[in-house]
Symmetry: C2
Subunit: 352 residues, 2 copies
């Protein structure tokens, strides 16, 4: 499956950073197209509550990534003491803001705030994290497409696609059934015609399940639990785990490892993502892509949000019936929309 | 797993009719409890469009089943020529009707009507078929519970539970990934801690997957595709398929068979559902159960539907602050609600 000609794979290592860089460049190009066409940038709002150092770092990284590709970023920094109503009010304001096309609430929230309630309050048209149950429902249903797919699972599939890994008809083992990674990546693989086995904490003889798999997605959050002998020769391994383990040789006193014993697994695998530098960079790249896709829907009036509908009716009102020039402009807009849509999907997604 | 002491299994044949009869008796008892407490019966509305003979038979069966357990049934029979708007208006009326706690639109609809649009128009609080994407989304998410689960998948799980079949930790093969059966039954098995492999038309070497499974759910709609040699000795086989095959010895010229070659599969299986008389009777039983659970939520004001909210505020307004008697009544209502809830769930649904 992977040989010297496989893109982004060298010495069996699948370079997530390089794939992410390519996606970010594509996002930047699309942002420019959208700005030219609509005179407006896509906008992403990140809501953070409290002073957790790790959360603040993640939010800073996301804002920086937005800047680099030309996405306008909006911040809402609430203190640890913010009430649930204040958080909900912030989300409601951002839902209504026509400059915001994606809303992300940085998790975890302080314990006194109901996470489910806050996530469900995000407009389904701006749910760039894809965590709304309506988006998850569409993801698992045949004949329906979610507006957004969670970023990390989307990044896993993108890594498979950009390395020309065949998915259809192959067996895949997904380890972990979280709402954020395991379950949605399993659903995506099913939509792409893989035969998927979902493993979790109650799975017995996990080794046997993994050994049957042509594609392994490890998202258990258990340091190096998957051993080299479990990997079927020639399998592609995507390691979502990021687990700190003590390491006295490091300044921080620890280093990060994945869910797979990397060196061992690499022996049998055709390709494997490193930790860090594999799936990690993909998550932010896919967040940017989700935001741009969302903005395109708003600009074209092709989502149900009132702001998009206003946009659509304003465009219609601005179009004199005799103006072929305006029609030309609309036609170009439609073409751009089609391009964004095509780019938002990977090819050959069969359904049956 | 199944021996002479296994309930509802005799000569390896899992008697779905008998399980369904038990559930209907339980539903009837709960209907009586609810009537005593609230002076009102649960109500189910069945919408049918057109004159398909098979659909009319199904609808008649559902109405008869309602009568038998004391559920009020409401019909809306629209002609084949009904417009989409007329169907949507009918659904809207039923959504608003406080006597209706469940709405079922008999499928298939005539070709000129958008099935997705009609199904999505059903109030999520009355979606007894469980086909609303929001209910599907909650079904696939950890830490969330759908208001309704589709009836046939729920019936499959109930068959496993009532025969004391262990689900947690066991391997399950689900064949077929339809929105109505395959996907939701796979999600239910995952919630119950099985290790599930979902097979479909693109699966290669399905025989191997099935051979590993302790539980086989066949929902492919392919007559006798699953052979006896595929079944692991001691596996429990639930056959959802109902396929007509030519049979000159029958008056109708055909007979119904499942997705499993019954006699062959029975050899290896510990228990297997027959076709007919296995899963079929369970679907209507679970529809009745879903309707009663929904009515209980309406009567208690524990769902978000405006009618339920009015019920809840009326109950609160009717409660004088000094009345211990009224408090007692409310406490009884709460106990009933808890009983209905407990009964609506099967025991030991671990999460991890």
């Amino acid at each position: 499956m992977a040989d010297s000609s496989t893109p982004f794979v060298s010495d069996k290592i699948l370079d997530g950073k390089a794939v992410a860089a390519q996606i970010r460049a594509e996002v930047a190009a699309t942002v420019n197209l959208l700005k030219d066409k609509h005179g407006k940038a896509p906008g992403l709002a990140v809501v953070i509550v409290g002073e957790r150092k790790d959360s603040q770092t993640y939010v800073r990284m996301k804002k920086k990534a937005c800047e680099e590709v030309g996405i306008a970023s909006f911040g809402a920094d609430l203190p640890e003491t913010a009430t649930q109503q204040e958080v909900l009010d912030t989300v409601a304001q951002l839902n209504a803001d026509p400059n915001v096309h994606g809303i992300l609430v940085q998790l975890p929230l302080p314990k006194h705030i109901d996470e489910q309630l806050v996530l469900a309050a995000i407009s389904v048209d701006k749910d760039v994290d894809g965590f709304h149950p309506l988006n998850m429902g569409r993801l698992c249903m045949k004949g329906r497409e979610p507006l957004f797919v969670p970023c990390t699972p989307l990044g896993c599939i993108e890594l498979l696609d950009r390395t020309n890994t065949q998915i259809s008809g192959r067996r895949a083992a997904v380890i972990g059934r979280s709402n954020i990674v395991g379950m949605p990546v399993a659903l995506l693989l099913i939509k792409r015609n893989a035969t998927v086995t979902l493993c979790h904490s109650a799975t017995q003889n996990m080794e046997q399940v993994v050994r049957e798999a042509d594609i392994v997605i490890a998202a258990a959050g258990q340091a190096e639990m998957i051993k080299g002998s479990w990997i079927k020769p020639g399998a592609v391994v995507i390691d979502v785990g990021t687990n700190p383990v003590d390491d006295a040789t490091k300044k921080a006193g620890y280093r990060l490892v994945g869910d797979c014993a990397f060196e061992e697994c690499k022996e049998n695998a055709a390709a494997i993502t490193p930790v860090p530098g594999g799936v990690g960079p993909m998550t932010i790249a896919m967040l940017l892509k989700n935001t741009v896709n969302s903005a395109a829907r708003f600009f074209d009036g092709t989502c149900t949000h009132p702001a998009a509908q206003q946009q659509a009716s304003a465009a219609a009102a601005a179009l004199p019936s005799w103006s072929t020039l305006a029609l030309g402009t609309l036609a170009t807009a439609t073409a751009l929309q089609a391009a964004v849509k095509a780019w938002g999907r990977t090819p050959s997604r069969g359904r049956s």
